[in-house]
Amino acid sequence: MSLKTLWIGALAAALIAGPMAAAVHAQPKEMFVPLLVYRTGPFAPSGIPIANGFVDYFTLVNERDGGVNGVKLTWEECETQYKTDLGVECYEKLKGKGPTGAALVNPYSTGITYQLIPKAAVDKVPVFSMGYGMTASADGRWFPWVFNFPTTYWSQASAVIRYMAQQEGGTEKLRGKKIVHIFHNSPYGKEANPTLEELSRRLGFELTLLAVDSPGQEQKATWLQVRRINPNWIFLSGWGVMNQVAVKEAAGIGFPMDHFIGNWWSASDADVIPAGEGAKGYKGATFHAPGTGFKVHADLFKFVYDKGKGAGKKEGVGEVLYNRGVVNAMLSVEAIRTAMTKHGNKPLTGAEVRWGFENLNLTEPRLEQLGMKGFTHPVKVTCEDHEGAGPVMFEQWDGKKWNIVSDWIPVMRDVVRPKLEAAAVEEGKKLSYTERDCAKEK
């Protein structure tokens, strides 16, 4: 081969490879996260702060840190109105978007979660239903693509009973006490019932289950029954307008509000404000703090709101459901970051992010680095345990704001986990899943 031929060959190669290399280089260093939101419809008062918290945290990561290890986060909101059919449509529309497809999906509705569980496993997109959705999916051996940490409805119910026992002066003091569970008459609302029934048998309290049909704007008859039963404690698993009406009704019958506890979807600002003074003393379970007293909020103001990039009004920062959106986004980001430790600092696929979720170990020092020490609790996820069985704390409305009034209350894992594992087998078999051997994945 002559020198001339070599030169021509080299030139041709350069001409062909140059644009290709440039194309590879030009591929955006971005990861896409679909956001299923409900800013409209009857549940918008709850959906808006959650969506704002989510978007603001992603904006913060991009603005303050330049993305996750240099990979910018991109997202697109899709309006579900909290409707399952629209949620599935949104998922189908967005799952392939972005250079590597959807990194994960947060369904933000138990109904949508149930529909996405079989789809996401096929599409290899991890479903992150933080504190909602199918409780049984916490068993990662049966549901490798679903994550519902930091804790589930069943665990929450056990922590609520433990808290009531604490307030009464010990578990044995619950014997003979009357507890009423008022629940949204839907799969979500009924989630806590089996756990409460089990605990009623074990601890000897008298449990009454009262269903309220959706939407629940008229529930006077339910509260007349409560008045007749005259319970020591009420636990509320409501949603939307049902919550605010329940709080008003409880105040109306003169029930002591400090013995009325809502689950974490029944204790937001929107649930208490309409009841005015009557809501004072009402309590709620939560896995994160309310308010703006954390470094992450200072960062949100500095890097997001002061630059005019906030998703909502500045006054909304720190609301209970806003903070939930922030926590949800943070856990998603940390799962992506964990996945990068194995797969490199590049845009990752859903399958790669799934590994990050399953190996997430969010420690106290890491929370401190994130400006969230005390805001939420550490989480460790494993192949078997996608819940983490994190503790729950309790907040109380003082008429103007929510205040934390308890330590972290541990859940009753000995009660919940065996039932959860049995339910996972049942639910897994319904979907023709087989059990994973986690020992082989370590």
Binding site: R39, T40, G41, P42, A44, P45, I48, N185, L209, L210, A211, V212, D213, P215, Q217, E218, Q219, K220, A221, T222, L224, Q225, R227, R228, G240, V241, Q244, V245, K248, A251, G252, I253, G254, D269, A270, I273, P274, A275, G276, E277, G278
Partner: protein, 299 residues
């Protein structure tokens, strides 16, 4: 076996009656429009919601005194009713009934979007200067807000009943509803009476918005009270004010008895569908309702 406790039964009945009268107030808005214009307003719940938003925003955002906020709500809704008739509904006069039905369904969707978009989706309190302490009289347990709501309903049901039966304008409105052509031939200004009917619906919606808004808080959920209108007016009769009262009472009582005695045994669910079972039965047995005119056309 259903356990019947007399005291509890009385409580459920009294609550059903009070709530039923409050449903009647919302149904009255529906009946007024039907009675005068032969049109079916599927946006009644959304009218209530918009009225609630106006009053709550005046109270919360502008710090207006209650009388001013309620006046703004009343005037706003009267203006809204007039405007709606002028801009949209007048163009539909003489068109098939389905055109008005579809227009009001569309209007409902628009209002559900426009309300939160304009005033924010967060729940707004609408506090009335009345105590939350219930009146306890023997076995009765009566929340003041319900007593107020029921009283307002009765007063306005009486006023509008008188208006339609005794006043010249009311009789003219009935004539318009019977036959627009004949009414025109008799020299009645049909368009003016249509506008008046929608304005009256605005007044009723504003009152409903204040009463229900103070019970539920004001957000897009408030429009859901409109769903209760349908069993109420089908049972009572689409064009009958006494029918709205009776229909409301039946729905209120049935809901409460179902919630108190059936729901605990079947795990819930009967309270909300029981009125619709009655509604279907009414359509099968007496399709024009208890007090309705036999010629009523349904859609």
């Amino acid at each position: 076996m259903l356990e019947v406790d007399g005291r509890f039964f009385v409580l459920l009945m009294s609550n059903g009656i009070l709530i039923g009268l409050m449903y009647s107030l919302i149904a009255l808005g529906f009946v007024l429009v039907y009675k005068a214009t032969d049109a079916i307003n599927f946006a009644q719940g959304e009218f209530v919601m918009i009225a609630g938003f106006v009053v709550a925003v005046c109270l919360v955002a502008y710090g207006a005194p209650l009388w001013l906020a309620v006046s703004a709500g009343l005037l706003g809704m009267v203006g809204f009713g007039f405007g709606l008739e002028r801009v949209m509904l007048r163009r539909l006069i003489g068109r098939p009934i389905i055109a008005v039905v579809m227009a009001t369904i569309g209007l409902a969707a628009i209002l559900r979007g426009v309300g939160p978009l304009t005033w924010g989706a967060e729940t707004k309190p609408l506090a009335l200067p009345i105590s939350d302490e219930p009146f306890i009289v023997g076995p009765l347990f009566i929340p003041p807000i319900q007593l107020l709501g029921a009283s307002v309903s009765l007063v306005f049901l009486g006023v509008f009943g008188w208006f339609f039966l005794k006043s010249r304008k009311g009789i003219a409105m009935r004539a318009v509803a019977d036959s627009q052509q004949v009414a025109m031939a008799m020299g009645i200004n049909v368009e003016r009476y249509f506008a008046l009917a929608w304005a009256m619906t605005g007044v009723v919606s504003a009152l409903g918005g204040v009463i229900w808004g103070s019970m539920l808080g004001v957000d897009v959920h408030l429009s859901l009270v409109g769903f209760k209108v349908f069993p109420v007016v089908i049972l009572g009769g689409l064009d009958s004010i006494p029918g709205a009262i009776l229909g409301g009472l039946i729905v209120g009582v049935v809901e409460n008895v179902a919630a108190g005695y059936v729901d605990p045994y079947v795990g819930g669910g009967t309270k909300d569908f029981a009125p619709y079972v009655l509604m279907i039965l009414a359509l099968m047995i007496r399709p024009y309702g208890i007090f309705g005119k036999k010629i009523i056309e349904r859609v």
